[in-house]
Symmetry: D2
Subunit: 142 residues, 4 copies
């Protein structure tokens, strides 16, 4: 059985600043790559996280899990695959898979974000149009 | 029943560069704080991670999990509590708890690291003296 | 002839995340160290940059110049010397000298900052109490 | 009179992690953008900095100057213009101009780099083929 999901891909070139003296991408920098992955996933749906913030919604991260499999190296052109399996109500899950140019899986992660009012900083429901947008994307994608 | 562990504490002042436009510490920067936590935990045992690397051992991170509870803010003086519950054989687990000056728990995380030869980049056992050092610290601490 | 100045020193331990694959501190990270230098210079005068921001004043950077002499290395305990030669009116200059534990000068830099209203984002004069604070520090220091 | 130069352009999208709590790109992060600018300038000439390092040449930065004119904002799609006016012998100068999507100049900078042997860490001359490559690019460009 096929599990429905919206899957988006984006590319990132590893910067020199992102490596450390072990000659690999520093383990903490993948959080930035995941952020780019989810921001571009929204952009590919015709929307931006910036727009959400301008509409008064902020999405802080509640949790992050990463499994490091192989290191990313300087100048690698990485593919960030971002997977959304469920339209958000009060929380939103993103899964990520990063692979290099030869298609090797480098790491997998997931983050859970929450919707918060920019003014009150209280948790709120995802805007209805946003939930609808994600729902449509999940159902159309294959 | 009391579970034995070696617990170390260190302080970090939040830098302006570590905040983002939400006015909080960027969620990816805690990996750096955890790194400082485990480096200082070793230093307090009279040893340095730098020394390990000079002895030919590198410790890449295999996994990281973070639960974000409250945000750290600019200029906060954070306490990083680093907890080691088991002397390492081929892997080493660190748990972390970050709290602010008023004692509020901000986030909890854990990382698993592995021992690797700097030359061959193959996994190796932790050096015996290192395992012994950690074992002693766990048993002495209360 | 002795040129009056307020000189402040603070220590920073180089983090693993701050190195790059050349095995040195990444050249862009010194801007962070300079920021810590000037923030701690203010704190040592009994004041905080955080307090300035809370009072509605932001200090964006207008220019930065760095001369790199020797590299800082992982785990180095650096001394950041921050030098203020003039009490600010609309702009404020900071000079920096970073040296390592054996007293070697690693790099020198300077930044010019400007005072801006947090609300209007227009340039403003430094608050009078602030100018006075710096003036006093410059005259007392030797 | 027209001054010959090789001019290269590349685009960077501002990441959330690169902003700070003033709501702007942190002043220290432009060093990373400049690095991307010069790396892509070389790539557009059919060469990579990675290749230089693999051939035993490292290029540490000797100096950096930045003039900040307007701030870059989150999600801005920046254009980094990198300008090389002279083929390198022992040093190499890069100038940079960063502008946003509406064509406004945000900041200007320059860096001077030096050629160093990866093994001895002594300064060396630029490889002849490299000097030739840059010379050709400067003369052909208009």
């Amino acid at each position: 059985m096929h599990q429905k999901a919206y899957i988006s891909e984006t590319k990132i070139r590893v910067r020199y600043s992102e490596t450390d003296q072990a000659g690999l991408v520093y383990y903490g920098n993948y959080a930035q790559y995941y952020e780019v992955g989810r921001i571009e996933a929204l952009r590919q749906l015709g929307h931006t996280y910036k727009g959400l913030e301008e509409a008064g919604v902020v999405m802080p991260v509640l949790s992050m899990n990463i499994k490091y499999i192989r290191p990313a190296l300087y100048d690698d052109l990485l593919t960030i695959k971002t997977i959304i399996r469920e339209a958000p109500i009060t929380r939103m899950n993103f899964e990520y898979e990063i692979s290099n140019e030869s298609g090797k899986l480098l790491n997998k992660g997931e983050t859970t974000l929450v919707f918060v009012s920019k003014e009150t900083y209280k948790t709120i429901k995802a805007p209805e149009w946003f939930t609808g947008l994600i729902e449509k994307a999940i159902n159309e994608d294959d």
